[in-house]
């Protein structure tokens, strides 16, 4: 069942943490294996950020994503840069507040891509009052849409990964993201 997931956006959006949560959920709380890798520019904030997760029900040898089954884009720059790697019949999840899928409409049609729009940034601002939890909102949407991790595992992984004292807000953000895709 090897599933390759790429989450991309700006540095500072918590892209890496979103990937870590997926990996933790799959490998520690669902009975699967996961490897998370990342790439980053020398800029700590604002540069392009990309995080990749491979989830499988058996031991993962090759740790890198070659051609993602699932692409999650939280910036338009990242969407344009990485859309071309997405597998045929793959899943694309975008934040419509930070991307414009019309720019990749041709690719979506040609490759029969399933597209989901999850307004993670707006939901984070409006429902939680904290823009910085947009990544966790997105984890909720990914969980619901792709089912690569279970809801229970996702919540446990969030609790184990976010700073102490912020668990409640983050779980709320996750629930809001999960509801977006219903």
């Amino acid at each position: 069942m090897r599933k390759e997931i790429r989450i991309c956006g700006f540095g500072g959006q918590g892209i890496i943490l979103a990937g870590i949560i997926l990996g933790k959920a799959a490998s520690l709380f669902d009975e699967n294996e996961a490897v998370q890798t990342q790439s980053y520019g020398p800029e700590a904030r604002g540069g392009a950020s990309k995080c990749e997760v491979v989830i499988d029900n058996k031991l993962i040898e090759y740790p890198k994503v070659l051609s993602p089954d699932i692409l999650v884009a939280m910036s338009n720059e990242a969407l344009l840069k990485y859309i071309g790697d997405l597998k045929d019949n793959g899943t694309l999840i975008v934040d419509p507040g930070t991307t414009d899928i019309n720019e990749v409409r041709d690719f979506i049609d040609e490759h029969n891509i399933d597209v989901y729009e999850a307004p993670a940034t707006m939901t984070a601002i409006n429902d939680i009052g904290l823009k910085i939890v947009a990544n966790i909102v997105m984890v909720g949407a990914i969980t619901k849409i792709t089912k690569v991790i279970s809801k229970e595992a996702a919540m446990k992984a969030i609790e184990a990964s976010v700073p102490k004292g912020t668990e409640e807000k983050n779980i709320k953000a996750f629930e809001a993201g999960y509801a977006l895709a219903e």
Partner: protein
């Protein structure tokens, strides 16, 4: 008791160091190794250890040698440019037989090249980086869990043979996160052997297995440690050809005579293999994926995962490739361990190189293409 974690390779290395009894770290920040320093800066005080950020890598290496003679297991972590700066004091650690561990999380090279990209360009720097004759031990972890256990093994080998031991990781290995299980039953710690305080104790005695117990400063032995050629007492004796030859030969032989004890490989499918792929560190994971695929297509291909590039596992590799026509070495440089393999196997096999630089891990497809190219020629 066991514990499951989803952590980075660099964090696993730091945890391994603490489990092995490391209680001193000196280092200088450098991508992509910095998380080892950061983790130990946080964790060492919690176990009665000390962390110090030095002014550069030269000083870091000096500090861990000093700490080792102070009676504390010690390590540093760096990447290629830092390893270059450490080389003079690494030579000092070899000639003074100082146990310590150096984690090198390799990045694109030469010079500062590619700080955030993976490579294996330091393999020969670990082997020959300092001047003169010496025999290093180097381990190459290929998973987060292995980075933890190999770090413990590195400390154990360092103590057992009184040598610096290198952990040759790479950016992918350092930054990748995956599940690892810490099983306390699998942790075995080799403590430093304390000599008996007698009048005839010699800190550099030419003992049969090559390694004599080492006191700590303050134990009452009043040892003199010098980077100059020294006699068994540790006193400089720089103009005596025999003293020098005896010392340096022993330093080399204590590793070479124990090559089979120290070196190890992991292997599959070599029994019937026409082609054997040899690799180490993170590229081996692409090799395994590729070998599993081509075997499904009916090709007789096996692989050897070299866990200890230095000393190179000569006997195991010679034996495992005996029936093979072709050997392919996969590494993230333009040929380093390849030359070691070629030197060893050229009478027996056709040795080929798949060397990839630029920062990306070789892909299974690239390895499959190479296998086909070699076999179908």
């Amino acid at each position: 008791m066991s514990e499951e974690l989803f952590i980075q390779g660099n964090e696993a290395c730091a945890k391994g160091a603490i489990a092995a009894g490391c209680r001193f770290f000196a280092g200088y920040p450098i991508t992509p190794s910095t998380e080892i320093a950061e983790t130990l800066a946080r964790e060492l005080p919690k176990v009665g250890g000390s962390f110090v950020q030095m002014e550069d890598e030269i000083a870091s290496m000096g500090a861990i040698i000093g700490a080792s003679w102070g009676g504390t297991k010690s390590m540093t972590a760096t990447s290629g440019p830092g390893l270059s700066l450490m080389q003079e004091n690494i030579g000092y650690a070899f000639i003074t037989e100082t146990p310590l561990v150096i984690a090198d999380v390799q990045r694109g090279s030469p010079s500062t090249a590619q700080p955030t990209m993976g490579a294996q360009g330091d393999m020969m720097q670990a082997r020959w980086g300092s001047h003169g004759d010496y025999e290093p031990i180097a381990l190459a972890p290929a998973s987060v869990e292995e980075f933890f256990y190999f770090t413990i093994k590195a400390f154990n080998l360092a103590e057992q043979y009184r040598v610096p031991v290198f952990l040759m990781a790479d950016e992918t290995m350092g930054h990748m996160r995956e599940k690892m299980v810490i099983d306390e039953d699998k942790i075995d710690i080799v403590p430093r052997k304390r000599p008996e305080l007698t009048d005839d104790y010699l800190p550099f005695k030419h003992v049969e297995d090559g390694t004599t117990p080492m006191p700590a400063f303050g134990d009452g032995f009043k040892v003199h440690i010098t980077g100059l050629t020294h006699d068994e007492r540790g006193y400089p004796d720089t103009n005596n050809p025999e003293t020098h030859s005896k010392l340096v030969t022993r330093l080399c032989n204590k590793i070479l005579n124990n090559r089979n004890e120290i070196s190890s490989v992991f292997t599959q499918f070599c029994d019937d293999a026409d082609t054997v792929v040899i690799s180490y560190g993170s590229p081996i994971r692409a090799v395994i994926e590729a070998v599993l695929k081509v075997r499904k297509e009916g090709r007789k291909v096996g692989y050897i995962k070299v866990d200890t590039p230095w000393p190179f596992p000569n006997e195991q590799v010679l034996e495992l490739t005996e029936g093979a026509k072709n050997v392919i070495v996969v590494e993230m440089n333009l040929g380093q361990m390849y030359y070691e393999v070629d030197r060893l196997l050229k009478q027996q096999n056709n040795v080929h190189l798949l060397g990839k630089i630029g920062g990306m891990l070789p892909t299974p497809d690239e390895i499959i293409s190479k296998i086909k190219e070699v076999e179908d020629k």
